[in-house]
Amino acid sequence: MIEFELNGQKVKTDEAPDTPVLWVVRDTFKLMGSKFGCGAGLCGACTMHLDGVAIKTCVLPISAVAGQSLTTIEGLSADGNLHPLQVAWQAYAVPQCGYCQSGQIMSAAALLESNPNPSEADVEAALAGNICRCGCYPRIKKAVLAASESGGLFKNALASEERV
């Protein structure tokens, strides 16, 4: 039995210890926001936070999170309001198919946590492990910078007040 914290709740599982965290979170705990993209830690669709650090969970065995705290996209904003990144994602109409976006947002959120005012290069480095096949990169970059401390979230946003 492996015990850990999932979005602030204590949970336990008897899945095999080598089962990747992603599948336990999705299929045992039914949190479907984190996605399967490559199964090899190459695309970042499965990104969650382990004790606040962005981590690819499709290659992380569930045994590795015992006693630690895991946060998924569903638990990103503890107070139930949208995270500034999620507001920015709408303001810049970032998603296309949307499949990679949970991972993109989790990587970006970890970046802003450790570096509230990233440069463009910082954003590119932090999100280098997240593939978007639809080609949302220019908007992702703009949205992360807008959600940063000095970004001015609604500056240049398209009719954001109507939609947010």
Partner: protein, 734 residues
Amino acid sequence: MKIENMSRRRFLKTTAVVGGGVVVGFSLGGCSTSAPLPIDVAEGGFIPNAFLQILPDNTVKFYTARDEMGQGVTTGLSTLLGEELDFDPFKMEILLAGVHEDYNNPGMGVQGTGGSNSIHAHFEPMRQAGANTRALILLAAAQDLGVNRDYLKTKDGHVIFDGQLFPYGRFVQTAAGLKVPENTPLKASSEFHYIGRESGRVDALAKSTGAAVFGIDVDLPGMHYAVVRRSPVPGAKLVGYNRTATESMKGVTQVVEVASGVAVVAESYWQAKKAADQMDIAWEDVPLGRVDSADIRADYELALNSDDGLTGTDEGDLTSGFAVSDQVLEHEYWTPFLSHAPMEPMNAVVDIKEGWADVWSGTQGPGAAQGLVARFAGLDPSKVRVHQTYLGGSFGRRGTLTHIVEATQIALAAGKPIKLIWSREDDLRNGLYRPASLMRVKAGVDRDGKIAAWDAKRVGGNISPDTIKNLLPALFPGLGDTVIDWIGGMADGAFSDWVADPSSTEGLFEDYDHLNTRVTHATVNHGIPLTFWRSVGHSYTAFAKESMIDELAVAGGHDPVGFRINNTENNPRLQNVVRIAGERMKQMTTAQGRHLGLAAHHSFLTDVAEIAEVSVENGQIKVHKVVCVVDCGTAVNPDVVRAQMEGGILFGLTAALHGEHLIEGGAVKESNFHDYPILRMNEAPDIEVVIVESQGKPTGVGEPGLPPIAPAVANAVFRATGERLRSLPLRLKA
């Protein structure tokens, strides 16, 4: 597949009464079924047509008939209907429609999404559905309020009378008893309120919180998971495998042989995956198993340099065209096999019980999915419910539904709900591919800088036969396997013997003025499965055509903008985007070491010109900025148009800089993103999209952004290095 334009009158007709409401259905063939709409009717819900349910509390539910794969069609169609209904699409509850005749694509005649046609094909019908519904609500309001209809106006979901606002929902009970007006006049474009408005996307919130449901997210009680092992060499049949050992693995509940290979069913995905991975499988030895990339290329060269092939277009007289040419160039261009690699690997959930089948999967062909499940489950299509989900990318890949066939066969054998999940390795190695192409263009330019002769030949596989074979069982679920195989075989013959497959040579010659033109096609097909890939034939023909145009301009000392303008007199819309791009090029100040390349292309009724700003350092090509000029008629949602241009450009840049599948022993060599790299954020240029003002009917945007980017980059690389790259992906000589 194309059907003729239907009249609005035939398109909108009363078909049935459901849940106390009048149902107005879109009917295409005049042979409408009486099948109920796949809509859950809420208490008091009014369903004026297949796309709408209006509740007494003024909730408006919009049922999106086309499939949302990221192209923004939920936003676009709800905008069209909302414009005439006078209801803000951002206040609608957006749902994905099930399968019903009323949801057929007016441009296809079946329920499918593709060819960048959704907004074009629905521009009138979707607005008409909104206009008729608004007219009906006004009739009901006039009756309920006891006033003349002429005194009523509407504003964003409300009827206005005497300065008072009444929500539409207040009148739905009365509306349900009235006849739906037909052919209500549509607004002039000058009156548009939502069409053309700068707005976001209706699906952005769900896609920023993890709430959007994709096929892979569907979860049923008692569901088991399946993983399939397929032959690495397409078409090789199963010979043998360690069944007993596999069945004894922890969690495994079944091992099922399916048409494509062996499926392992287990209580969890990980158990199924581990058991499938350890399987020791022998596959049949097939001739394709001895084919490598070099063999394919050699066979293409042979066909290119022989008299093989058949002539499609043949206009004017090439001999005299070349005789008057000052410059004659002849070059070969190569483009490889490619995967779509959508971020969501193929998957499907199928549940078969009590004479019904339910299938959940994001697909470009829900209508075909219904037919396929019916066929393989032995049910009538009316007993198959297709639950459409968001598509985690597609780019053509989810138009083929072999994964749904697999899931159906497994669910039938397992006797329980099944979720089938392909791995990324399955996706890249067992997929259907953008065909490889070898193209040769010989072209001549006369002393006035006019193209006088254009002789083009393409060698490669055809897409349509594979597509027909995959879709036949879906379109004719009642036909036996033998008949399907026979027709499928005919399809092969039909496309081998005649250059009839428009996907194979589209875009290779059409854009520029040239009186003397010949296009030849030689089909060489080794058995690598092929399908539509974003922008289809244009994805490779534009590279050959726009590279050659640039080479001709350079050779003749012509300005590449002026040369294109001079040769597009019969294509004014393309000429105009080139002219605008040319003006932008003059304004662009390029930093030291950066160079500009231009390309333009017409596809899916849309004209696009792109400028790539490129540098080459240490043999590495870096694209810094792309300016894209697009004329797609009326931009229904300008920001979605911009997003699709950005997406098409970046998808095309992956192909230009990285994309290549190699074949080894008949199998695709690459297996995951380490050896089939996708463009990452640090490689993505800034993109500026210029949308040409237009009141024209909207044309495609999902695909047309892609074709010009590879030649634009290659043309810039030539200016940076003097080296002309005629193969994709672009690689400089060391």
